[in-house]
Amino acid sequence: MSAFQDPELVKGLASRIARLAEKLARRVTFMEVCGTHTNAIAAAGLRRLLPPQVRLISGPGCPVCVTPVAYVDRAVALARHPETILATFGDLLRVPASVGSLEQARAEGCRVQVVYSPHDAVELAAAHPQARVVFAGVGFETTVPTVAAALLEAEERGLGNFFVLSGHKVMPPALEALLADPTLALDGLILPGHVSAIIGARAYRPLLARHPIPAVISGFTPVDVLRTVAELVQQVVEGRAELVNLYGRVVREEGNVTAWSLVERVFVPTDARWRGLGDIPSSGLGLAPAFASRDAAQFPATLPAPKEPPGCRCGDVLRGLIDPPECPLFATACTPDTAVGACMVSAEGACAAWYRHERMAGVA
């Protein structure tokens, strides 16, 4: 819908935010937690339309970025097994493991296949009955139902050689960890539109009752994001802390019940480790006992001691403690072509978005 990019509306919203911000007693910080928001905000140059009192930061919204190095190590170890075809989305390929990466394993002759959809990995399993096809799945609530659907399809087609290495994560427990962290002092949350399309507005209500804060479910166009910022500023000015759904054309209170019921059939909550945030209870999804035979974690793998790239401050970027340019490696040792850390590797990462869109614009 091109009207959601309408320059007149964008201009009108920017002036509205500026007027509202005059009533702010101090600078406010709003965090988004979705790689698509990270990119949308940077690509549209929205920071430059905001008054200095309003700061937008990125949180742990890039799936590949929050995936701990131990997961990538396991994926690489599995890919090195001669019987394995490892299928995954493209942005996991170049993420550094403790030793090498999936891309490097592929260059050395391992069968690593980039797929557009988990369904394509099921087709790989059908086409290569002698191989063990492992789908390395990272991603949040938007992606998990597609993996659940693919696994159920493999089940239905009797493809016993389709496996999932689940690195999936869910957002509400991570938000709760962020809100409980006194060093962050956030003034508002920009909630992820596509994740919310699946889990619904209702998924945030319990945690926002425990940690009241202005929170807005937002779409991704410039008009969507600016409406969200205006609402957040207004709530701060008026001393309110409410959950508002400004992406009503896609997000319903109950979410996509069909999609989530598939997730609940296939996966169960597990404790999970996040880069930057550490261990968060019930923030991951592992395969349910009924599908344990499809769990690629069952295969023996020799793993190195997990090692993060030296000097990389991806973890601090993911908590919103620093903006990407505050990392000494940013745009020096670490660029999209020579990425040191996951936040620069993934197109959804905050470092990659800043490098591409904000670096020359003097926003820091």
């Binding site: 509306l9 919203l13 399309a197 069909t258 999609a259 598939l262």
Partner: protein, 68 residues
């Protein structure tokens, strides 16, 4: 993207003349003619066009009133 064809749980979506097959396993209720959000080959949500237009209309009204 607009859903232009549907047969059981397979659908075809179209964006700017480009057609692509999608799974409707996560959105079985989607109907031909509706706009859907597609992620990794699966339709995951309906996009309510009426609500979108209503949002824009209200926003234009509010901004016009504030500027006046």
């Amino acid at each position: 993207m607009k859903l232009v064809a549907k047969e059981e749980l397979r659908g075809v979506v179209e964006l700017s003349g480009v057609k692509r097959e999608v799974s409707l396993m996560l959105l079985p209720e989607a109907e031909v003619g509706e706009y859907v959000l597609v992620h990794a080959g699966y339709a995951i949500a309906r996009v309510d066009q009426e609500e979108a237009e209503e949002t824009l209309r209200l926003l234009r009204d509010v901004l016009a009133a504030e500027e006046a």
